[in-house]
């Protein structure tokens, strides 16, 4: 078990260094793009705890991002009793509000599993965006809520994009460590037991109710943080900012990243950002092949590219990027494990 810790620490140090140094080598806008990738990554970490480790499927995590985003918007625009709260401090609150919502959703999840649970969560993703329309005085309706543009605090001499980048990835690294510790802990093993066999888990003294709801709460907390950061980065929320398709993208990111790999999720997050925003580059590469002549500026073509690339990726790496990495480095690390 010792070696798991060392491999983890070494990997984490490398990751942190790369993240810290990266903005020096890329343009200011690329830093912003990577920040959004970081937000997807945070949401995926939470989803991984829920789906990858406790085996519960959620098609509604975009809704928890929306809860986080709206919490930040309301607190930083309207504030509490007229006292506006700096966007930075709304992030943990947004996470907690979403987390509580997640616990509540976790309760019916006790009675449902598999497809039925997926449907319930999908229902949440569909219905939740209606709330801001119902309470438009408070939540801005379809017009939405406009936040103040993100600015580096404490007089930090950096650009807004770099600030959002460091903020997001700083939080992402902390949450990565937290998730890593969680899945390696007693609670993590209990979650896996619930996933693999509920009967076996119960008979070994694992409380299904506790762990299933807990998994929902934790993953919603992560999504809330991600949504809060997304609202800060865009300085705008309305129901369309958290569309139903966002929840689907998150599941896609999870599958691409690998169900049981935390770091692999960075690849999943990167892919869902990239395919949404750089379909034209993908089309450029595809057009190098004979026969193909895609015009990415034709309506509908970007969606088609998204679908095709996804199919190809899943054919090439069916266990996700995380699974691929494990297969590549598996022999090495397993030797380390057996030595200790």
């Amino acid at each position: 078990m010792r070696s798991r810790l060392w491999i983890g620490l070494a990997g984490f140090a490398v990751l942190a260094l790369v993240i810290a140094a990266l903005p020096r080598f890329i343009s200011d806008f690329r830093a912003r793009e990577l920040a959004i990738v970081g937000m997807y990554f945070i949401a995926l970490l939470g989803l991984s705890v829920l789906t990858g480790y406790s085996g519960q499927i959620s098609l509604g995590h975009g809704a928890f991002m929306a809860i986080g985003g709206y919490t930040t918007a309301v607190l930083s625009v309207d504030g509490i009793y007229g006292h506006q709260i700096r966007d930075l401090w709304t992030i943990p609150i947004a996470g907690m509000v979403a987390g509580v919502a997640g616990l509540l959703v976790g309760l019916p999840a006790l009675r449902l599993s598999g497809l039925y649970l997926a449907l319930i969560t999908f229902g949440i993703a569909v219905s939740l965006p209606q709330l801001p329309k119902k309470f438009d005085q408070f939540l801005g309706g379809t017009t939405g809520k406009i936040l103040n543009l993100a600015k580096p605090p404490f007089g930090l001499a950096t650009t807004a994009n770099n600030w959002i980048y460091y903020l997001t990835w700083g939080i992402a690294l902390v949450l990565l460590v937290a998730a890593w510790l969680l899945v390696g802990s007693k609670a993590g093993r209990a979650l896996k037991a619930v996933r693999d066999s509920e009967v076996a888990a119960t008979s070994s003294g694992v409380s299904l109710a506790t762990y299933k709801t807990l998994a929902f709460g934790i993953s919603a907390f992560y999504a809330g943080i991600a949504g809060s950061l997304y609202a800060i980065a865009n300085a705008y929320v309305n129901p369309d900012v958290f569309p139903i398709i966002l929840s689907v993208y998150l599941v896609v990111g999870l599958a691409v990243g690998g169900l049981e790999s935390l770091v692999g999720l960075i690849a999943g997050a990167g892919l869902i950002y990239f395919l949404q925003n750089h379909a034209d580059s993908v089309a450029g590469w595809i057009n190098h092949l004979p026969v193909f002549n895609l015009d990415p500026k034709q309506p509908g073509i970007p969606s088609m590219i998204f679908g095709v690339v996804l199919i190809v990726v899943m054919l090439l790496v069916p266990t996700g990027v995380g699974g691929l990495v494990r297969r590549a480095f598996g022999p090495l690390t397993s030797r380390l494990y057996t030595r200790s």
Partner: protein
């Protein structure tokens, strides 16, 4: 010693490079040979088809470039897909300003998508030109957002015109209203009430639907029960289609008014003609599908430009009103850039955009003058009414003002 000299040379070179690089970028997006504009439109998702507006603009710019550009500068349009998601529109707009270094953001599509970026564009003093949305706020709130200007007639005015028409032409009107329950539908409804004035009580029923609903048949059934003889369809896309279907299925025969954004010929042609015939709407752009314009110079120009300069264009696109709408805006944009002069700055572009007096835009109805002043930022405020019959729209009456 040698190292130090090299180091000094490097600094000199670096300083020289930055100062040399600084000169042409005095105004972002403008060089001796190029004017670079940007736009965020849906090319994926439910509203993807509306992205053809940007493709129309792109084709028109290439046509202008072939004729020498604007003061010798070629026009380029970078348009990015936002899937009709305001979050992605924000990201696209920031990319256009920071990465693509555009002179101005132009003809981005959608009310929320433009609302989402209005503040950041105004803070950065980047013009937000000819917004592709009829929300009144883009033309009205110029004091707070001086870098923003709309383009098409505001929805509220459209509603008002229908109201005034009913007062004048319908005996004992009993009006039923189907509206989309968001800013767009409510803008139209509020305008209608204003247009009816003292007769606002003749609205006997109004039912909103949510944009995420599956079908509006229940709402239409409810409206029919009110025994109204006039039906306002303030619905968008598929909902408008469903409304016509429901009216036909219920064998209801009201005088229908359908709002401009749902009145595309392609849509009207596929709904039950029993219900569609006699419907009234407003019009300001030339409809390439209408037989009326088959031999029109403007539409012929449109089709020849699209064939020659459009990318992956098919024969259906030549009848697609989104492309003409794009070219109409592009025509005004070229006009604006000419007016802004050779020394192009963001300020001079904004000045030109708020001092328009454009006659003879070949892609809008004859006689329409596109006029703006710094305190009147609704470029297109003249419309005609049109009636649907024999599978196409037929404009009637004179040009009327839709100026707020």
């Amino acid at each position: 010693m040698g190292g130090r000299i090299i180091f000094a040379c490097a600094i000199v070179a670096a300083v020289a490079a930055t100062s040399a690089g600084a000169r042409p970028s005095a105004t972002p997006g403008v060089s001796a040979t190029e004017i670079h504009l940007g736009s965020s439109v849906p090319l994926s998702g439910e509203a993807a088809i509306a992205g053809n507006v940007a493709r129309g603009i792109d084709a028109y710019f290439k046509y202008v470039n072939d004729k020498g550009g604007v003061f010798g500068r070629k026009l380029t349009l970078t348009y990015l897909d936002d899937g009709y998601d305001p979050g992605r529109a924000v990201n696209n707009t920031i990319r256009l300003i920071q990465q693509e270094q555009v002179l101005a953001v132009f003809s981005s599509l959608g009310t929320s998508n433009n609302l989402a970026v209005r503040k950041l564009l105004n803070d950065a003093k980047v013009p937000q030109l000819y917004v592709s949305s009829g929300a009144t706020t883009f033309g009205r709130d110029y004091k707070k957002y001086p870098w923003t200007i709309g383009y098409i007639p505001p929805y509220s005015e459209e509603g008002e015109l229908y109201g005034r028409y009913v007062v004048k032409n319908v005996k004992k009107p009993k009006i039923a209203v189907l509206y989309q329950n968001d800013d767009y539908g409510r803008d139209l409804l509020a305008g209608l009430k204003r247009g009816l004035g003292a007769r606002a009580k003749s609205i006997v029923a109004s039912v909103g639907y949510d944009p995420t609903s599956a079908d509006v048949q229940p709402q239409v059934t409810q409206l029919k029960a009110s025994k109204a003889n006039v039906l306002m369809v303030f619905a968008f896309g598929k909902f408008s289609l469903q409304a016509f279907n429901a009216v036909s299925r219920l064998a209801w025969k009201p005088q229908i008014f359908v709002n401009d954004v749902s009145s595309a010929s392609a849509l009207m042609a596929i709904v039950p003609q029993k219900a569609a015939n006699g419907s009234i709407s407003i019009v300001f752009g030339k409809d390439p599908a209408a037989p009326l314009w088959r031999n029109d110079k403007g539409i012929k120009l449109f089709q020849s430009i699209l064939k020659k300069y459009g990318s992956s264009v098919n024969s259906r696109d030549l009848q697609d009103g989104y492309f003409t709408a794009g070219m109409a805006t592009a025509y005004t944009m070229v006009d604006t850039l000419r007016k802004a002069g050779k020394n192009l700055t963001r300020q001079s572009v904004m000045n030109a955009a708020t001092h328009l007096n454009e006659k003879g835009n070949p892609f809008v109805l004859p006689g329409i003058v596109i006029r703006t002043t710094p305190s009147s930022r609704f470029p297109l405020t003249q419309v005609r009414l049109q009636r649907w019959s024999n599978n196409s729209w037929h404009p009637f009456g004179k040009l009327i003002s839709a100026k707020p």
